[in-house]
């Protein structure tokens, strides 16, 4: 039944912001759909209509059937309309997709966006239809004039590859040569070998395609993880890394070439991954992974794979992802060994801080740089990370839950150790550092940021000379007590609060802490690397 725009029963003066996605087995009426978007604060309305046409790849089409994996597609479709609302600041977003039998000329999909101004309405409308085509598990069966018929897996696969990436969804990702990389590809990606597994199949493949995974670090662990996940057809694959390629990386980071030394790894990896599988939406970020950058990205992803090479990054990523209830696949290694842990998205199981409450200061236990590492050792751990990611996405049995896997590649032994949730672990895992009873031996601590140290309950004490403080003051609230004065009068320190001493590079504060510990003060620590490490 036709309905005029302002005949809606919705109140005209106050309209809530809404975003909606749904399927309909009945014919769509643009007029009826538009009425849902009535909003007196909006001056612009844009809509898109997708129609059934009579030809596909040279074959005459008489009609077609749309079929969807509805529960998954609705949840993903709702994410897309909500994303459009958030990204473009529009007020009303609505998308309806047909399922069932359609004839030539029928309306297959309708998108409508209402916004205060036209520019964002157009942009959001374009975003929704592009993402719907890209991410939703929808198939169509075409009935050809020749009498044949055929299933086309998700609309997007039927397009020539160069069209897959013509849309630019994400302004914040670095995307050079985006469409150029896919030129010259022939045919769509072929997942038949993994789809043949009964546990994967078409349904599993659709789930992989609709999944969004963020990989932190494009180094030894990150490279194989990225290649396997891109190959598997993960729909959206983000990567964040601020390093440039070094020749010493190449023995274990197998997708890079010697001629690429000096270039940003995130961009090199993205280029390779797009040529490996043009269907994947690869989103590279040349940035340091810390709590703030991860916070900015994390809403766009379901799972975070931590492939970092230092404790500070791992804890920052873990805390940010855990707080948002995202699953995290963690791996780290030392020489011929590695550890693997999977943090569940439901926040009910154990987390990194349930096992290792405090971030170990980097440098104490050795790194790939100082202790050495063999390429295949990293490869094994990375393969396990990619495997656990896929198992988690497909809900396969045998997953690592509330456990830590120890992998010893000298003896070729693996060991699953039960790691239960710590009784004081909060749902959002805010087990912030508190002094363990036996902390007397550790004197240096590092944090994701100075603010985190402050928030963790430490009183920051700057022990530099006044002239140094005048040149560059500590950006976070701190006491200033120069080293000489402090050593003469340790009582000047707070008694009831943990104290973190800081100097320019961490040497003086370390020595001062040792001296104070010898005098019986057990509540003082030194900031590893000093202020220079946080500038």
């Amino acid at each position: 039944m036709p309905m005029t725009r302002w005949s809606s029963s919705r109140p005209l003066l106050v309209a809530d912001m809404t975003s909606f996605f749904g399927f309909s087995s009945q014919p769509l009426s643009p007029t009826d759909e538009t009425a849902f978007l009535a909003d007196p604060s909006c001056g612009g309305f844009a809509s898109f209509e997708g129609w059934v046409r009579d030809e596909n790849e040279g074959q005459r089409v008489n009609r077609l059937d749309y079929e969807a994996y509805v529960e998954l597609a609705v949840s993903e479709g709702e994410k897309i309309t909500a994303e459009a609302q958030r990204r473009f600041g529009v007020r009303q977003v609505r998308c309806i997709h047909r399922i069932g039998e359609l004839a030539i000329g029928d309306l297959a999909v309708w998108v409508g966006v209402a916004a205060p101004h036209r520019a964002e309405a157009f942009a959001a409308c374009r975003y929704v239809i592009d993402e719907i085509k890209h991410r939703l598990p929808i198939w169509k069966k075409e009935y050809y004039a020749s009498g044949d018929s055929g299933w086309v897996n998700c609309e997007r696969c039927a397009q020539p590859p160069e069209q897959h990436h013509e849309h630019h969804h994400h302004k914040h990702s670095d995307n050079p040569n985006h469409s150029g990389d896919t030129q010259g590809q022939s045919g769509a990606s072929d997942y038949s070998r993994q789809m043949r597994l009964p546990e994967v199949g078409a349904k599993g493949q659709a789930k992989l395609r609709s999944s969004r995974v963020l990989v932190v670090g494009a180094g030894g662990l990150g490279v194989p993880v990225l290649c396997y996940l891109a190959g598997a057809g993960i729909g959206t694959l983000g990567l964040i890394d601020h390093d440039e390629l070094e020749a010493s990386n190449l023995h274990r980071q197998t997708l890079y070439a010697i001629g690429d030394v000096g270039k940003p790894k995130a961009l090199l990896a993205a280029k390779h991954l797009r040529s490996l599988n043009p269907e994947v939406d690869v989103r590279p970020h040349v940035a340091k992974a810390d709590r703030s950058t991860i916070n900015d990205l994390i809403d766009d992803y379901d799972i975070v794979v931590d492939c970092a090479d230092n404790f500070a990054t791992t804890y920052a990523v873990h805390d940010a992802a855990r707080a948002k209830g995202k699953a995290i696949i963690l791996a780290s290694l030392y020489q011929y060994e590695g550890q693997l842990q999977v943090i569940q998205a439901n926040q009910l199981g154990s987390c990194l801080r349930c096992v290792w409450q405090h971030a170990t200061p980097d440098g104490i236990t050795g790194t790939c740089q100082t202790a050495g590492v063999l390429g295949p050792v990293v490869g094994v751990l990375a393969s396990l990370q990619a495997l656990e990611t896929i198992k988690l996405l497909l809900d396969l049995p045998g997953r690592l839950i509330d456990e830590v896997l120890l992998v010893d590649l000298v003896s070729l032994e693996m060991r699953r150790l039960k790691a239960l949730r710590h009784p004081t672990c909060e749902p959002t895992c805010t087990r912030l550092p508190t002094a363990p009873a036996d902390a007397a031996q550790a004197t240096e601590l590092s944090f994701a940021s100075l603010l985190e140290a402050s928030q963790a309950g430490f009183c920051l004490v700057d022990i530099r000379e006044p002239s140094e403080v005048a040149d560059y003051a500590c950006p976070v609230k701190s006491l200033v007590i120069p080293m000489g004065r402090l050593l003469q009068n340790p009582d000047a320190l707070p008694q009831e609060q943990k104290v973190l001493l800081l100097c320019a590079r961490g040497a003086r504060s370390k020595g001062t802490v040792q001296a104070l510990r010898e005098r019986g003060l057990s509540h003082v620590w030194s900031l590893l690397g000093g202020l220079d490490a946080y500038r």
Partner: protein
């Protein structure tokens, strides 16, 4: 004396020069055992940074040892 099977990982394996050993120890707890082995092998990682698992489960260092327990000392590792 209690007979305990000990496994070392990462930097402990490197400093001990072995992946595992069977020890006869007077130690009653994992803590005491670690102190004893630290002295013997010259471990540099502070105990408070370490984890211990006994018979396949992470536990406190105060855990009492039983004969033939398998004790795994694990330092944190970050390489990637």
């Amino acid at each position: 004396m209690t007979q305990i099977n000990v496994r070392y990982y990462a930097i402990l394996r490197e400093q001990a020069g072995m992946t595992h050993q069977s020890v006869d120890t007077p130690a009653h707890t994992a803590d005491a055992l670690f102190t004893e082995l630290s002295a013997a092998h010259g471990f540099t990682v502070p105990r408070n940074l370490m984890k211990v698992a006994i018979n396949g489960e992470f536990c406190d260092f105060s855990r009492v040892l039983n004969a033939h327990d398998e004790v795994v000392f694990i330092p944190p590792v970050a390489g990637g």
